[in-house]
Amino acid sequence: MADLFQVTVDFDRSHLIFPRLIGIILLLLGAAIAVSHRQAILNSGRMWAQTFGAMDKPRFIGTLILTVIYFLLMVPVGDLWPNTGLGFLICSIPFVALISILYMHERDARSLLPALIVAVVGPALVWWLFTYVFALTLP
């Protein structure tokens, strides 16, 4: 009986033991979930249709698109002025401004002005803090 529990660990392959064990447990749990939640899984198409139907698509998709563009531009812009963090500053100001405008409900001068001031002051303050006070390199 004791032999059933005997295990010999080959050190060169020891990196695979735990991931495989966890993988097997996940497969078993996944199968149990598939059986116990089969009705919910079968109806998931309707759930997703409702989710996307109720979603504020311009704000949600706009957030994702602006974020990806922001990430993609930060490094190339920063490379124009290496080790200054200006890539972060130059990209963050329009990013914060555009996200603010995207999230606004009334886009009149009374709402726009404070948002634009924050969009300039916020990134500038953070850039100054991290570059000069914390001495951390930004893109």
Binding site: S14, F18, D56, R59, F60
Partner: protein
């Protein structure tokens, strides 16, 4: 008088500002204490451990407490842990007793925080001293127990356990760390991504993504609902608060704070469970249970002392076993990681200065929270009305800078933030539980080392059952938590079936 050495102007400033910012985060619906800690974590990089923890503990205490403001004034819980505060706080505000309700909540929060701090001070060192004797076998079983308790208390146990193991699986991506006794080989890395995934996903971008970006995506999905206008918020100028409202409520205060502390000690159980259990206990013990939900101050006392009782309790398993008590304390692990310090049974003994500093910081954060909230109630009411279109873009930028600077400027960490932001947004839709996922992700690498090294040393799986009486006790607790949860779920389902 050793504690006086911590009280530098910088330390005090960080506790004050952390608590203030935490209250603001907690007071704005949709923003949580966890989010506040996630966003401000990178700031601790340059502060040193003691000062960094002072800031984060202030954010934690302030964030949990701030949630009572919108719960009472708007009937919207500022944080999940203040959900039961709405039940009696909002009806009181509706009948012009908003200020009175706020003051009751603030005092109860202070009492809950202080009782849980006393529990932390007394229990954590004792538990750590006991846990020092644990071998890798018991340490592995403690992690397994933490995951099963957390999963057992999830909405769905099966999905909770799945989420925990998924967190472990994701944490294993990358190299099997040589410094921990691994063989330095890659695993679970898709071909072509070795350069980025060699060290796996970094903890902090994952946390900031799950708790920061995901919240913003949820807000964007919902159309970034407009906040309340100032004129809609009624504090209730004519309702005078009197201390006599606490007459006969001492038992309620102590019971609720103790429940909150106990729930905090259980790994991964959030503040909402603490406040719901405290509220239910107060209602059950009341001579007039029907008055609960209609503006009974005892309901606010139970809810707020319960959720603030969580704050000290959740630090007990973190500082004695290295296992976070809730999502926010999981983030505190990030602060220790940044400073190269490992939390576990040896932490308190090896870092007595940091331990004392944390206790003092918790005490001061509770007092600052009380002072700020009690004497600035009208200003707090205005915080609720801060527009999200101003705050969220700045928070999004802070998330990015946090992810980027955490490893000295690696752009992949910023993409990790986006990936896990989307994961955090998707998880509730797929019924996955974030708390077990995070605990699994944090403890996964340690669980692997404990498991594999135990097998290497003893050469048999039976060692996990036969090593000591502690191992057997832990198995009993693991099985008990799973079976108990399954029975509760079954009873609940039968109850629903009978009701239908």
């Amino acid at each position: 008088m050793d504690f006086l050495q911590f009280l530098t102007p910088m330390y005090l400033f960080l506790i004050f500002s952390g608590t203030l910012v935490g209250i603001i985060f907690g007071a704005i619906p949709g923003m949580t204490a966890t989010m506040a800690v996630a966003v401000c974590l990178p700031l601790t990089y340059s502060l040193g451990l003691d000062n960094g923890l002072a800031l984060l503990l202030g954010l934690y205490v302030g964030g949990i407490s701030g949630g009572l403001v919108p719960a009472i004034l708007l009937g919207i819980p500022g944080t999940p842990s203040s959900i039961t505060t709405c039940f009696d706080g909002y009806p009181m505000a509706q009948r012009g007793e908003g200020e009175k309700a706020l003051r009751i909540g603030i005092i109860s929060s202070l009492v809950g925080g202080l009782i849980s701090l006393a529990a932390l001070f007394l229990f954590a060192p004792a538990l750590a001293e006991f846990a020092i004797k644990f071998s890798y076998v018991e340490k592995f079983l403690i992690i397994l127990f933490a995951l099963t308790v957390m999963a057992a208390l999830s909405d769905n146990m099966l999905l909770g356990i799945f989420s925990g193991f998924l967190g472990i699986f994701v944490s294993l991506i990358g190299v099997y760390d040589v410094t921990e006794g691994g063989n330095g080989q890659y695993r679970l890395i898709p071909p072509g991504t070795e350069y980025w995934l060699e060290g796996g996903f970094s903890l902090l971008p994952v946390l900031i993504g799950l708790f920061g970006l995901a919240t913003i995506l949820e807000g964007a999905e919902a159309g970034m609902p407009k906040g309340q206008s100032l004129k809609d918020i009624k504090v209730g100028e004519h309702s005078r608060f009197r201390w006599s409202v606490f007459k006969g409520q001492v038992v309620n205060l102590v019971r609720s704070s103790s429940i909150g502390t106990f729930v905090g000690i259980l790994p991964g159980v959030g503040g909402s469970a603490a406040s719901i259990l405290s509220y239910t206990a107060a209602k059950t013990a009341s001579k007039d249970p029907d008055s609960f939900g209609k503006g009974n101050p005892a309901g606010i006392i139970a809810s707020e002392s319960g959720n603030n009782g969580l704050t000290g309790g959740a630090l007990v398993p973190l500082l004695s076993l290295g296992i976070p008590g809730d999502s926010t304390t999981a983030l505190l692990i990030g602060a220790f990681t940044l400073q190269g310090i490992q939390v576990g049974p040896l932490f308190i003994g090896n870092n007595p200065g940091t331990w004392d500093s944390m206790i003092v910081a918790m005490l001061l954060a509770n007092l600052v929270m009380f002072g700020l909230m009690y004497f600035a109630i009208r200003w707090l009411a205005m915080v609720v009305a801060v527009p999200k279109h101003i705050l969220f873009p700045v928070i999004l930028m802070m998330c990015v800078i946090g992810a980027y600077t955490i490893n000295y400027g690696i752009m992949f960490d910023v993409w990790t933030l986006l990936i896990f932001g989307i994961v955090g947004w998707l998880a509730p839709k797929l019924k996955l539980e974030i708390a077990p996922f995070i605990i699994g992700f944090i403890l996964g690498p340690a669980a692997e080392i404990y498991f594999v090294k135990s097998l290497e040393s003893f050469g048999t799986l039976s060692i996990f059952f036969t090593k000591s009486w502690i191992a057997l006790l832990l198995w009993a607790l693991i099985i008990g938590s799973v079976v108990g949860s399954a029975m509760l779920a079954r009873r609940k389902a039968q109850g629903q079936g009978a009701a239908a």
